[in-house]
């Protein structure tokens, strides 16, 4: 798991919140944010947001790319890509360029993608299928 998290940019993230940390308020950074703790509040990043397997977030998430392996009660707004990995549980709406949902991920909500990217996803699905 640690290796996967590193691939997602945790080691180089500007803001890293460990699994034992409980946060209240809004976290914002121009750089990447990786969170594995509990947060009641919103996350806003000018870069990528990684929500780790132990994370429990109650709030909205905004970033360029958003990757979720933990639990999120809130909306996601990603300008590029959103990835919901195997252990992700997202209860909220997603507005994103592209969306990847792994087998096992739980997503309850609506998804809105940009038209151009939507076409791209469809094309890729056809190739994979």
């Amino acid at each position: 798991m640690a290796r996967k998290q590193d691939l997602l940019g945790v080691a180089t993230a500007d803001t890293v919140i460990g699994s034992s940390v409980r946060l209240k308020g809004n976290v914002a950074s121009d750089g990447d944010i990786a969170i594995d703790g509990q947060l009641v509040g919103n996350i806003k990043s000018g870069g990528n947001v990684t929500i780790g397997m132990n994370a429990r977030i109650s709030g909205d998430v905004t970033g360029t790319n958003v990757s979720v392996t933990g639990r999120l009660e809130g909306n996601i707004k990603a300008t590029d890509n959103t990835s919901l990995l195997e252990t992700a549980q997202v209860n909220g709406d997603i507005s994103t360029g592209t969306l990847e949902i792994s087998l096992g991920a739980v997503f309850i909500g609506a998804n809105r993608m940009k038209a151009a990217e939507a076409t791209e996803v469809q094309a890729r699905t056809e190739v994979e299928g």
Binding site: D14, T15, V16, I17, G18, S19, S20, V21, R22, L23, K24, G25, N26, V27, A28, S29, G37, G41
Partner: protein
């Protein structure tokens, strides 16, 4: 005009062995000046203030990190330059500025290349590089009172620190960050560092790093790095801020730029204050 603030206790009285050679070298380089010795805690601050009042525009600290920290707390004017002749037990600030021996320090002083560094406020005091609290500070305090750097002593310190680390009960900490959010975390060790001091091209920010209690395997790496005074970068939590207020339960002591100084709770913030240092490196400002 050069004013030399000498800590006679620094480096186990290192100045007593080299005072004559040092003065002779400074005379040769044409940068001799007034020499004054500290006699106790806080003296370097008072002496620096008094020297600036008298019109000295160059304060040279002959000592270690703790004496440098005291001196910068006495800087009251921006046109004053600070030099360091590193003879202390801990000389991290001088090393960061490319100064590694008293002989080299004399050459650096004569060359007078200046670099400006922003200061961080911690309560009523200011510091340049790093504030630590928690386990690392407790160990540093012990080393400060028994500053033996032989290999045998280092091994002894390591074994002792390992035992203490395993018994160490993490503190509870509560941090308010820029009035935007608050966090609670168990804390083994915490550092607040001046990002711009480490990297002059970086944004002016505090970098707060929290270390949780390491497992047995990680503990060895952690302690060895700590005793060798390597920068410990890999924390479990880290974030940037302009201002933080740190509370711990129970209250704990802090180490500021290598000097034991104050206890939690503490408010730490960026300031507009800058100090010009005479360094080996060219200024990046």
């Amino acid at each position: 005009m050069y004013y030399y603030v000498i800590n006679p206790a620094a480096g186990k009285g290192a100045i007593n062995r080299l005072q004559e050679k040092l003065r002779e070298r400074l005379r040769e380089l044409g940068i001799d000046g007034e020499f004054a010795k500290t006699t106790g805690l806080g003296d370097a601050t008072k002496m620096t203030k008094a020297a600036i009042e008298k019109g000295y525009n160059t304060i040279v600290v002959v000592g270690g990190d703790g004496t440098v920290n005291e001196a910068i707390n006495g800087i009251t004017k921006e046109n004053v330059a600070v030099g360091i002749i590193p003879i202390g037990t801990s000389n991290l600030l001088a090393h960061h500025m490319g100064i590694n021996s008293w002989q080299q320090a004399c050459e650096v002083l004569a060359a007078r290349r200046l670099a400006s560094y922003g200061l961080i406020a911690a309560g009523q005091k200011v510091f340049l590089s790093t504030l630590t609290l928690g386990f690392e500070t407790d160990i540093d305090k012990q080393m400060e009172t028994a500053p033996d750097s032989t290999v045998k002593a280092r091994v002894g310190q390591f074994v002792s620190a390992f035992g203490q680390a395993r018994e160490y009960a993490p503190l509870k900490c509560h941090i308010k960050v820029d009035g935007r959010y608050e966090l609670e975390s168990p804390l083994f060790s915490l550092t607040v560092s001046n990002q711009k001091f480490d990297n002059p091209l970086a944004e002016n920010k505090l970098v707060v790093t929290i270390f949780e209690k390491p497992g047995r395997k990680q503990l060895t790496t952690y302690l060895w790095g700590m005793l060798k005074k390597n920068q410990l970068e890999e924390g479990t939590t880290r974030f940037k801020a302009d201002r933080v207020v740190i509370e711990t339960d129970p209250q704990t002591g802090m180490m500021i730029d290598g000097k034991v100084s104050g206890r939690t709770p503490i408010a730490i913030r960026l300031t507009d204050r800058r100090v010009r240092f005479i360094t080996e490196k060219q200024s990046n400002f």
